[in-house]
Structure formats: structure tokens, C-alpha cells
Amino acid sequence: MNIVLTLWKFIIEFLTVNAKPLLQIIVLPGLLWVIVYAIIAVWFERKFLARAMLRVGPYYCGGRFGWLQLIADFIKLFFKEMIIPRDVNTFFFLLMPVLLPSVPALAVILIPFASDWVLWNVGSLGMPMFFAIAGIAPLIPVFAGWASNNKYTFIGAWRVAYMYISAEIPMVLCAASVAIMVGSFDLVVIARAQENMWFFIPQFIGFVIFFLGVMIQSERTPFDMPGAETELVLGWRTEYSGVLYGFVMFTEYVALQAWALMFLTLYLGGFNGPVLFGATTASHIFWLVIKFVLLVTLVILLRVIFPRLRMDQMLKLGWQYLTPLAILNLVITLALKLWGVY
């Protein structure tokens, strides 16, 4: 009995102390989590959409629930002919799908999954670093759309650029208000400060704006003008086929993940939650993942409910409503900070 306990303690200590960087890179914010999450999310989205439309969704593939559907899709895409059209810029056309998922996946490594579970802890540079990395993201669809040399991809690419800029400015302003309120750019400190009260109560305007920003940045349905099927075939993704399209499809969900995790960390308490069985790190990770799953479900549900906005309506929303509101939010936060309310 004693030996078993000692062994158990040794294994736990090995996993949490010695093998921690390796575990972080391979399992949790790293490779395995991103891949497994993307596969499950696509399957879940198809199944959930089908249920909301009173359909069944994927059913026959893999016995029950169609649970092997995405594996089948990926194998098929992998062995499908990859067409490179004659007039494309081959270098950028082939490079961009590879870069696409890696930029949001790079942003995810800055997110604290628990107070001591951050893959790349840059301390007080956390939030600026996240926005700096995320700021690269719109360049990649623009390059991909330009390299495809097709009018639909080109229009789609510019729509991406317009949308990302009009969403990113209010989002950065909202994040800045949170940083002013806490007095730190460190994501761990921000998440820790929400132990008693989650920031969606004192920062309600920022909460709403940032949520809309998450939807815009990950091109979810009320804001999926870059890939509007009725106008632009598939937007900037039109020319990608075979395994390249597999990468592109994967990316939407990785981008959603990065922004959704940032949203949770800023406004919905991050990893905070009741500690279960005395295991602090594990329960922190558990609560963040639970919140994340609920948020992704909500985002998918909104896809069923809303129709697509027009491009000018979206730009009006971004520049005429979200940006002034975000500035107002910033001013209010500054005033309250100066008066010493926070």
C-alpha cells in the first residue's frame, strides 16, 4: 500500500513538475488540444445545427451519432486531388494555408489555463503580445485571396481586412479598459482579480463589444461576409482544394478558440471556479474548459438564429457604434479608476 502511494505521488509530481513543459507543448494548450478540439468542434457544430433544424445530422458514419464523420472527411480531403490553378502565385498560395492555423494557435499559448499553467508566461507583456500576434491574422487571408488570382477570392480578402480592422480597434480599447481596471497587462493577474466578481458586471459594455468582436474575428455567421455563398462562392477560400482546404476549414475553429479563450480570461472569470478535490490546477483547467464549451455552443447556436448582415451594415456597426461605445467605456473606466471606485 505504501509503495503504491509513493509511486502515485511520484507520478503526480513527475507530471506536474518535471514533465510540465512537455505536457503543455504536446497536450493542453499545444498540439493535441488544438487538433482534438477542432475535430470535435466541427462534428459538434454539424450535429448541433442539424438538431436545431429538426434534422439528424451525420448518422451512419462510424456506427452511432456519426462520430467518425470528421475522420472520414479528413481522410477524403487528404487523398483528394490538390488543384493549383495556372495563374496563382504558387509560393503564397501554398504557404498561406500552412500559416493560417499556426497564428491563432500561437496566440493560445499566452492564455493562462490555470494560475500556474501558462505555456509561455511573458508576465506583464501578456495582453499586448496576444493582440500583436492576433494582429497578424488578417494579413494571411488577404495574401491568400490575392495569391489565388480570382475576383471572388480578392473581394473576400478585402472584406476580411475591413472587418478585422473595424472589430479589432473596439476590442483593443475594451481590453485596455480591463487592464486599467486591474492595473496590469498580465493575463494571470487579470484572471486572478476576478476571484470574487467576474468582470462582465463592472465592464458590461466592454463585455458585449468584445463578444461581438469574437464573432467578427472568427467569421461566425451573422458576420460571415468574407465567405458569403450567395455573392462570393466561398470568399477567399474559393480556390483551395484537397488538403489545403482541410487546413482552411480547421483554421476557422482555431481562430474562434483563441479569441474565445481571451474573452473568457478578460470577462468571464478565466480559470476561476470552485476548487474540486483539493486539486487546484486540475480544477482551474476543468472550469476554463467547461466555460469554453458553453461559449462555443452559444456561438454555434447564434449561427442558427441569425441571418447574414450586409457588408455596409457590418462596417456601420463597427465604426459607428462599437468604436464610440468602446471609447466611452474607456473614459468611464478611467474616471472611476481616478475616483478610486475600482
Partner: protein, 168 residues
């Protein structure tokens, strides 16, 4: 190039156990392609309401893994729905050439199958004069059940086809 491929294959086949690997890969590919048909709909006529209902709540073709798509580059299958005129047939051919291998064509309804009610028209053509058709679905218009059965026949066909060029 062809000679090199043949040489590679001959070398590979001389390795003991290569047949098993061939069969496993072949089975996996067949399974994946069977359950992941992404059709693009080339709709020119009035069979389209029936075709739309196939993705709707009563019939739901997505149970079989059939996911209608907007862009032809990612698709595996063209559903030709409705009458095809001589001028439009060239567009079907163009669409077929834009699609990546492996590719399939399904003729939905009487018109693309064999001109249907326009049998004496100077303009109507059967679509198999221009592109190879895998499954014909008769009916004017075919019921959604018939279209789903057509997709199931296509699945059977995909499962049986020779993929890696192995004999037996």
C-alpha cells in the same frame, strides 16, 4: 513518369505483406470517400425543390455524410438537376473539369437522364453526351426518397471501385 510509377509499384509489391497494406489503405479510402460525398448542385430546373428537401428536416441527406457545398473546388460530385440545354451542357463540362479527382456525376430527374418532356426539342441534351454520369435518378420530378436512394447507390459504387489499381 508512368514507367517510374510502374517500377515503384513493382518494387513495393515484391515486399512481403505489401498486399495487406494495400488492402487496408484501399478499405480506408473507400470508407472515407463513401461517407464524405460533398455535392455541388447544378440546378437549372424544377427538380430543385425536391433536391432542397433532401437536405431538409424530413429527409436529411446529411445522415449519409452528404454535405452540399458552394464552391466546386472542394466538391466530389455534381448533381445535375433539371433540363440541360446544348449551351448549358458546356458549362456542366467546364464545372466537371474544375473539380478535383475523384469526381462523380449524378443526373437527377428525367431531363438530364434523357431529355424527359423535352424529348423533341432542338436544344435539350442528355447530360451523359458531355460528361460521364455515375448514377441516373429517374422521375419527373424524383421524390426525395429516390434522390437519397441514388446517393446510396453512388456510395455502393464508390465502395466497389478500384482505387489503387490492385487486382483481386
Amino acid at each position: 513518369m508512368q514507367e517510374e510509377t510502374k517500377e515503384l509499384r513493382r518494387n513495393f509489391e515484391s515486399v512481403p505483406g505489401s498486399g495487406v497494406v494495400y488492402n487496408i489503405v484501399d478499405y480506408l479510402l473507400g470508407w472515407a470517400r463513401k461517407y464524405s460525398i460533398w455535392p455541388i448542385h447544378f440546378v437549372t430546373g424544377c427538380c430543385s425543390p425536391e433536391f432542397m428537401q433532401c437536405s431538409g428536416s424530413e429527409y436529411d441527406m446529411e445522415r449519409l455524410g452528404v454535405l452540399p457545398f458552394a464552391s466546386v473546388r472542394q466538391c466530389d460530385c455534381i448533381m445535375v438537376v433539371g433540363v440541360v440545354s446544348r449551351k448549358m451542357a458546356l458549362r456542366v463540362k467546364y464545372l466537371y473539369e474544375q473539380m478535383g479527382e475523384p469526381k462523380y456525376v449524378v443526373a437527377v430527374g428525367a431531363c438530364p437522364t434523357g431529355k424527359g418532356p423535352f424529348y423533341d426539342s432542338y436544344a435539350a441534351v442528355a447530360v451523359d453526351e458531355y460528361v460521364p454520369v455515375d448514377v441516373y435518378i429517374p422521375g419527373c420530378p424524383p421524390r426525395p426518397e429516390a434522390i437519397i436512394q441514388g446517393m446510396m447507390l453512388l456510395q455502393e459504387k464508390i465502395k466497389k471501385e478500384k482505387r489503387l489499381g490492385v487486382k483481386g
